[in-house]
Amino acid sequence: MDNILIKAEKINKIYRLPAEEIKAVQDLDLQIRSGEFIAIMGPSGSGKTTLLDILGCLDSISNGRLEVLGKDVSRLKEHSLVALRRKNIGFVFQDFLLIPTLTALENVELPLLFSRMPCERERSISLLKKLGLAQRINHLPKEMSGGERQRVAIARALVTNPKILFADEPTGNLDTKSGEQIFRILKELNQKENLTVVLTTHNSKFGSQAKRIVYLKDGRIVCREDSCLYA
């Protein structure tokens, strides 16, 4: 089972508030293999984003065991988690979250800067071109449409050659046409480059096109299914 990238066993995430405990993720078991395209679906507040943050090592678990690329992340120190994220994980967020003072190209180069990797400008430019942003390379985020911004965010997530791409509602803030374009890009990345993609979505049309769908309710997986619609 060498191709298992993420293995979650009975993981829980509990937020302890003064008045109550909120169980965002409960006794969740999940394995993600290399090359998978997984859609995490469920109603608002079901724990989709929390689960994505946990699987992407942005957030910690309260208990259980989580292995990412063979490493027990609950035992890792912060700098090791940072190194793990840098090399292996890419993130795309619902509201793009580009740095507004940096151009599209500079936003894409940002992870390289933090990774102490040589600033491969050519790679950043070719990624932007591949995503149809050749004319937007030196534009600031405010000068771009939502769909363009999200494509810059995808380029930023891909620039370090990650093994897994996490996308949290990547089409949530986009119009239908731009949303379809973004989803198509993610699907192509999975199909052509064998990139493992894990996304959360409310959109059943997009979700149904994933290889595997995980339904969440109240922090628990209530249904797992392999999609037959994935082409």
Partner: protein
């Protein structure tokens, strides 16, 4: 792309805020440089004034030593007089190399300073005066024709102000007395430049101080004999012996008290600037919570975030330090002009002395200030947990 360009672009986000913060540091550095330049310049100018007196010891009528110091430097009213017999008695002392008697009289002239009025200093001297000050040269004209002539040699500032050349006359107000200008001294950078000199005997006669002196300037053959010289005059009634070293010490004691105040002002200015910088960067950090979270999500370590914020603070202070130095240099003339008008006594020479060492020192100080001011905001930013920063940053 480099970390510094990320930091620099962040500063451009709120241009007015960054501009005002840099302005605060600029003002603080400019104040610091000007005050320290004034401290150094004033001290140097004063030392120059005292050293250019040409004598190491002054014998005056007994009184307050501060008053005596002021009299030597500035003249002014309320002077004390001693008998010329003192001079006749000590002139033969073998320890003396050079000696000159002086009668200083200050007269109020209501027409001076554009009608505001001011004191004109008259000094009765004899030819021994030039022996004590061999560097004093004539710009034009020459020495008095006689020891009791109604003539004057004037300092170059007086000549410029009154527009006098040899052959013209200067008038002593109140006494309605005219003196013929026979010579003009070259600029010395001391109070001599603004003084009207006349023969000692003429001064005693005109101002009605027969056989009186205000001071006797003395240069000893060997300064180590000062103590024994002082002791010899100790029992002489009505006089006191003041060494230039004492005068310097007295004046510098007064200056050091003022220095404490000026340094306090500089420190307060710097503290205000530091608080301004910390406040600005903290606000900026809180506004960018989400961005900081994203940077961490895409691979930034604590140290990366710390460096970005720290660099922003340092950039503000570097720019403030640079512009502060420029402003201090450009403003030095104006500061000098103002100080000369408000100070009761301003020595000759540059009052505000801005040296390369001072400029470099203040610039480095500004950088250190930035490094210190940046620690807390940078720590706050670097301590943010990525998921909380992203999700709660709205």
């Amino acid at each position: 792309m480099k970390i510094i360009s990320v930091a620099f672009k962040n500063l451009q986000r709120k241009k007015i805020r960054s501009f005002l913060t840099i302005g605060g540091v600029t003002i603080a550095v400019a104040v610091l440089v000007s005050l320290m330049g004034f401290d150094a310049g004033y001290q140097r100018a004063l030392t120059g004034d005292i050293d250019k007196m040409g004598y190491q010891v002054l014998v005056t009528a007994k009184g307050c030593p501060y008053e005596a110091a002021t009299m030597m430097l500035k003249g002014g009213g309320g002077m004390r007089y001693m008998e010329q017999a003192v001079y006749d008695k000590i002139v033969k002392d073998p320890r003396i190399d050079k000696i000159t008697p002086q009668l200083v009289v200050a007269q109020f002239d209501k027409n001076r300073q554009n009608g505001l009025g001011g004191f004109v200093l008259y000094m009765g001297i004899d030819d021994s005066y030039l022996k004590l000050k061999p560097w004093v040269k004539f710009k034009s004209g020459g020495w008095f024709s006689g020891a009791d002539s109604d003539e004057a040699v004037i300092g170059c500032e007086t000549a410029d102000r009154e527009k006098r050349v040899p052959g013209n006359q200067v008038f002593i107000p109140k006494l309605n007395k005219a003196l013929k200008v026979v010579g003009i001294f070259e600029r010395t950078g001391t109070q001599d430049d603004g003084t009207v000199f006349l023969p000692l005997r003429s001064a005693q006669r005109i101002f009605d101080f027969p056989y009186k002196l205000t001071g006797i300037g003395i240069k000893l053959k060997d300064i180590s004999s000062l103590l024994s010289f002082e002791e010899a005059l100790y029992n002489e009634p009505g006089i006191q012996v003041i060494s230039m070293a004492q005068v310097k010490g007295t004046i510098f004691n007064l200056i050091s008290s003022a220095k404490v105040m000026t340094n306090s002002i500089a420190i307060i200015a710097i503290l205000i600037a530091v608080i301004g910088v910390v406040n600005t960067i903290l606000m900026s950090v809180f506004e960018r919570t989400k961005e900081i979270g994203v940077m961490k999500a895409v691979g930034a370590s604590r140290l990366d975030i710390f460096r970005i914020i720290w660099l922003e603070t340092t950039l503000i202070c570097v720019m403030g330090g640079f512009f502060g130095d420029i402003f201090a240099i450009l403003g030095a003339q104006a500061v000098e002009y103002i100080l000369r008008h408000i100070l009761p006594y301003a020595p000759g020479g540059k009052l505000v002395l801005i040296t390369p060492e001072l400029l470099v020192g203040s610039f480095i100080g500004a950088i250190i200030m930035g490094l210190i001011a940046g620690v807390y905001p940078a720590f706050r930013a670097s301590s943010m947990r990525p998921v909380e920063a992203i999700r709660l940053g709205d």
